[in-house]
């Protein structure tokens, strides 16, 4: 049964992966012959401050996006899990960003934030006329904001599904015991959503490792190297500088770190993942 899917994955996932690992030990400009280089690319990339800055930025964006997105998505998800009509209506509004591609979102935000032709300049709101995408310090926060704007709805959807699976009887029992809404949230909803939190966090963390499209259109890695995250660094080296070897090294690093982080997060779920959390049910 799983054979077609496995073959598919081996061909489109496995083969390129092996190819990238091999390329990381070669010198290739994408046009001429490929020549074996050994570990030269690895030593030069691992000694390159540009790569380490990109690595730091990637982790920075990862941590901050997680810290911003998780509470927001959790609260929104639990809120929209309720069955009241107005919540269903608000849920539709919250999920609107999900309908747009990263390219559309980036272009829209780029236009809105333009200091000369943007929203603030047109409406004449001086406080909002900042060099949002041109200042090396501000730009990071803008990127994290736009990333969060784009991905919070998706994670809310995951939490909504998780929250709806929590049996009503638990809440009924809790309210008989005299627990209020806040107490119910921390004592029932949050522990019951443990695995949902891990799933959502894994997606965020691994997704941050490969964030490319949004940053590429919004800032192209600039100003200077202020938003040159690993994926952008890889693209610039591979497809702009025609240095496929060093670009492949970064690609391999992204894969390794992504896998490692995903494994670590899964471990957080505990070893007895399959056991029920619903004692007495």
């Amino acid at each position: 049964m799983a054979l077609p899917a496995l073959l598919f994955f081996a061909f489109f996932g496995g083969v390129p992966l092996v190819g990238v690992v091999l390329l990381s030990f070669t010198q290739w400009d994408g046009i001429g012959a490929i020549s074996w280089l050994g570990i030269g690319n690895w030593t030069s990339v691992l000694a390159d401050p540009v790569m380490w800055k990109a690595m730091g930025l990637t982790f920075g964006i990862m941590v901050f996006s997680w810290a911003v997105q998780t509470p927001l998505a959790l609260l929104l998800g639990v809120f929209t899990a309720g069955t009241q009509k107005y919540r269903a209506f608000l849920a539709v509004l919250y999920f609107l960003p999900l309908l747009m591609s990263a390219a559309a979102i980036s272009i829209a935000f780029k236009a809105l934030l333009d200091p000369n032709f943007g929203l603030a300049a047109t409406l004449g709101i001086p406080i909002l006329v900042q060099n949002w995408l041109g200042s090396p310090t501000l730009v990071l926060f803008v990127v994290i904001f736009v990333l969060s704007w784009m991905y919070v709805p998706f994670h809310s959807l995951i939490y909504q599904g998780g929250a709806r699976q929590i049996p009503k009887t638990m809440y009924e029992a809790a309210s008989i015991d005299g627990a209020g809404t806040v107490r119910q949230f921390f004592s029932i909803t949050l522990p019951q959503l443990k695995h949902t939190i891990i799933t959502s966090s894994t997606l965020m963390v691994v997704g941050s490792m490969t964030t490319f499209d949004l940053i590429w259109i919004l800032t192209a890695g600039g100003p200077g190297n202020a938003t040159r995250v690993l994926a952008v660094d890889m693209y610039l080296r591979g497809f702009r500088a025609n240095e496929m070897g060093p670009a492949s090294v970064i690609a391999v690093l992204i894969v390794l770190i992504g896998l490692l982080l995903a494994q670590l997060l899964q471990r957080l779920g505990g070893k007895d993942k399959t056991s029920s959390q619903m004692e007495g049910m």
Binding site: L23, I31, A33, D114, N131, G222, A231, A241, N242, E243
Partner: protein, 451 residues
């Protein structure tokens, strides 16, 4: 790489969307992506094939030209496919690497063409030009430098030049009672004048990086003469640390610090033409840009141009500098090469298409169309045609500037190898955002010499 390479107004650099289609990790799989082989699959049938850039007016000019050629030469047809600029740059590289290039390979000469030649992917046309002096002499002689690699000609320069000139808003100059600057000191004084009047002195699309590079191209030339970049181009060790180069880099940062460039220039892209819009909406007074921008502004703000509000001047001289004020920078022409992997028949068709004066690649109809669209055509001896053109002031200015230039510096990112060019653009971005010093810039770039 991004480069002021495309004289296509309006839509020149919007290829970034198509790049998103490339999964970042798919590098290794890419070599299998070439779809249109030498046989010319897709985009209509033809014995030979050509890839060209999308975007008006040049896409239509090319389409009409190919239609006329195919009608007149039913046995030697050419099929043409159109791609967006940045998408094309990635696609052609991949196709050539996979041995799936079209018959006619379009490039901007210089370092990229040299990398094709080094890999044996483009045909040596030296002998053919020797046998066909008419074809060779039909374009301005200065255009051949970027087509020549180690003494051999690998491309036919044609179409249009992209000359980098200063544009200015005459309305704003009148408002503050200023004249176009003839020296760099006057330019610096104008920066203060405009700032005092609450007008941004200079529009710049800094995120595109090659836009900022144009400033360095001229400052290097005006301060140290064309020899400074020539030494870099020749791969001389330590060429970026030339004292004149450092002076030019310092001058750039001084201009940034003095507020010469509009607020937020770091995040403006040339793709969106926002830099041009700043000029014609009276938000910025000056802009250093390629000659293709003229037809773009004419298209986007026809009243601004017809009302005589758009002015232009050559990059001013720097006091005590070594460069001739007549030296220019930009892209000398567009370059058409013939794939060495194409069949003999296809190569012959391409050569016939290059040479034909009736319906060929650079026939009179094509030249007239380029002039009519306000572009700086590189055909030799077209002064009369330009004099009759609607845009004779601008075109005449550019054509004469190219013809009389003692030195034509090719856009650096095109002249250098792709690997050096990317390092250059990345360092330029950091230079303009003041995150590195001129010395660090020179040091970083010296490390790339010979790569």
């Amino acid at each position: 790489m991004d480069a002021p390479a495309t004289p296509l107004p309006g839509t020149s650099r919007r290829g970034f969307l198509s790049m998103l289609a490339l999964a970042p990790l798919a590098g290794a799989a890419l070599s299998a992506c070439g779809t249109s082989g030498p046989g010319g699959a897709g985009g209509g049938s033809g014995k030979a094939s050509m890839w060209y850039l999308s975007g008006q007016p040049n896409e239509k000019i090319k389409g009409d030209n190919i239609a006329a050629w195919n009608a007149a030469n039913p046995d030697d047809t050419i099929a043409v496919n159109y791609f967006q600029n940045d998408a094309y740059k990635t696609k052609i590289k991949t196709a050539i690497g996979a041995g799936q290039a079209p018959t006619i390979i379009y490039s901007w000469g210089g370092g990229t063409l040299a990398s094709y030649a080094a890999a044996g992917q483009v045909a040596d046309l030296t002998d053919w030009f020797g046998q066909n002096p008419d074809v060779k002499n039909s374009v301005l002689a200065s255009t051949y430098q970027a087509a020549t690699v180690e003494g051999k000609i690998y491309a036919y320069p044609n179409e249009n030049a992209a000359l980098i000139v200063f544009y200015y808003n005459k309305k704003l100059f009148q408002q503050v009672g200023a004249q176009p600057p003839t020296t760099y000191a006057e330019l610096q004084a104008l920066v203060q004048t405009f700032k005092a009047a609450g007008i941004a002195p200079i529009a710049l699309a800094g995120q595109s990086r090659w836009t900022s590079m144009m400033w360095l191209e001229y400052l290097f030339d005006r301060i140290g003469g064309p020899e400074v970049f020539q030494a870099i181009f020749d791969g001389t060790a330590g060429a970026w640390s030339n004292p004149d180069a450092l002076k030019a880099l310092q001058a750039t940062q001084d201009l940034v610090k003095a507020g010469g460039f509009i607020t937020g220039f770091e995040s403006i892209t040339a793709d969106s033409n926002a830099d041009q819009a700043l000029l014609y909406t009276d938000k910025a007074a000056m802009m250093l840009h390629g000659s293709w921008v003229y037809s773009g502004i004419k298209n986007d703000a026809p009243d601004f141009v017809s009302g005589g509000n758009l002015g232009w001047f050559a990059f001013p001289a720097v006091e005590g500098g070594k460069g001739d004020v007549k030296n220019v920078a930009g892209n000398p022409a567009q370059y058409m090469s013939i794939s060495a992997k194409a069949t003999q028949e296809q190569q012959d068709i391409a050569k016939k298409y290059f040479a034909d004066k009736e319906n060929g690649i650079f026939c009179d109809a094509v030249i007239d169309a380029y002039i009519a669209s306000g572009q700086v055509c590189v055909a030799a001896g077209i002064e009369d045609k330009i004099a009759q053109s609607q845009d004779k002031d601008f075109l005449g200015f550019c054509y004469d500037a190219i013809k009389n230039a003692p030195s034509f510096v090719q856009s650096w990112d095109q002249a250098l190898s792709p690997s050096q060019a990317e390092a250059l653009l990345s360092n330029i971005d950091q230079l303009f955002s003041l995150s590195i010093t001129p010395e660090q810039f020179a040091q970083n770039m010296d490390a790339t010499v010979g790569k």
